[in-house]
């Protein structure tokens, strides 16, 4: 019996089917738990699914590469999903036009705050230079952040992880920050969420309301552009 199972395992480990299926199963399990917890931000679906998958891969001694061979099909959809953000954005066209100037100012200040606060605190706490350079674009959506980290001389794959952690933190913490500061408008809540916590914050914002999601999507896209333009200028000046 045992050799049969190990034969099947050898076959499955070599095909993309397992990584892909596991990703979808882990996600649906995580969404189920998230719902059972009444959508509590601590039961974040990305966090739950990642913890489950890392645990499984570690227990079965499976390298990340092998897993990613299957999971890349899900990862690939980040591209078309980013393009698709134009649709909820367009639905907010009227409000965007009325708020253009405040949004632009909040974008520049928010974008600089995200990068500078992380690098300053990290450097005061004694993080290494490679870590600081990887940390700088952590509020930007994964594909843009990895590109920026590469240009700065950081480690793109470390950046990807820090980006995801930031997104999960933003999705969890936003509720408490907004409650403490009495931020009640969905446009303001969504925009700050998109600046601080990119796509994962945006996913969380869409759960709250269509409008909050649209402003988060806008902020995420604009913050990607702004950070890509600002950081290569600001970082050399900040990290000697």
């Amino acid at each position: 019996m045992t050799p049969r199972i190990s034969e099947i395992w050898v076959y499955l480990a070599a095909s993309p089917l397992l990584g892909l299926t596991l990703t979808l199963l882990a996600y649906q399990g995580a969404v189920h738990v998230h719902k059972r917890c009444d959508g509590h931000p601590l039961a974040n679906p990305v966090l739950l699914a990642v913890v489950t998958l890392v645990g499984l891969l570690w227990l079965t001694d499976t390298p990340y590469r092998t897993y990613f061979d299957g999971a890349q099909f899900v990862h690939f959809l980040l591209g078309p999903a980013t393009v698709a953000l134009a649709i909820p954005l367009y639905a907010q066209l009227g409000r965007l036009q009325r708020m253009a100037l405040p949004l632009l100012v909040a974008l520049v200040i928010g974008s600089l705050t995200a990068a500078l606060s992380a690098v300053t605190i990290g450097s005061l706490m004694g993080a290494s230079k490679a870590t600081l350079l990887s940390l700088a674009p952590k509020s930007v959506t994964t594909p843009i952040a990895m590109g920026i980290a590469e240009r700065l001389g950081g480690l793109p794959s470390l950046t990807a992880v820090l980006v995801i952690i930031t997104g999960v933190l933003g999705a969890i913490l936003a509720r408490y920050v907004y409650r403490a500061l009495h931020i009640e408008d969905d446009a303001q809540r969504g925009f700050a969420m998109g600046i601080a916590a990119h796509g994962i914050g945006t996913a969380r914002a869409f759960q709250e309301s269509e409008q909050m999601g649209a402003f988060a999507a806008l902020a995420m896209g604009l913050n990607g552009l702004m950070t890509a333009l600002l950081l290569p200028v600001v970082m050399p000046w900040l990290i000697a």
């Binding site: 708020m99 200040i109 706490m125 952590k138 794959s157 995801i164 890509a228």
Partner: protein, 119 residues
């Protein structure tokens, strides 16, 4: 659905081609998003098929971050060496960014609302 997915991929492809040929620092999908936004504004809105597909895709946006997030296992060593500065800077920076951005936007929208409506 296939038509809508094709359209999204075509816009992404145009974005990638522009980003690489003009050596822009902006990733292709973001340029694709901007172009699609302009196209929707010119057309006066998305066709229903595109709207439904986009909604379906964005409803499960969280799913798409899971493969990259699982990459955390490649960085256990560095992260266990530097966990304290990392976690403190990530948490503090996220809270500061949320607060600063929301407060700036609230301050500015109140001011511009007050300027337009003097009553």
């Amino acid at each position: 659905m296939i038509g809508a997915i094709t359209l999204l991929l075509v816009f992404q492809l145009i974005g990638e081609v522009l980003a690489h040929s003009l050596a822009l620092p902006i990733p292709g999908p973001v340029i694709g998003m901007a172009l699609l936004f302009v196209a929707l504004a010119l057309r006066g809105g998305p066709p229903p098929e595109l709207r439904n597909t986009a909604q379906g895709l964005l409803q499960h946006l969280s799913l798409l971050f899971i493969p990259a997030g699982t990459g955390v296992m490649l960085h256990f060593q560095r992260m266990s060496d530097e966990w304290l500065p990392l976690i403190i800077s990530l948490v503090a920076s996220t809270v500061i960014t949320l607060a600063v951005t929301a407060l700036v936007l609230r301050f500015l929208t109140r001011r511009s609302a007050a300027a337009k409506d003097p009553s």
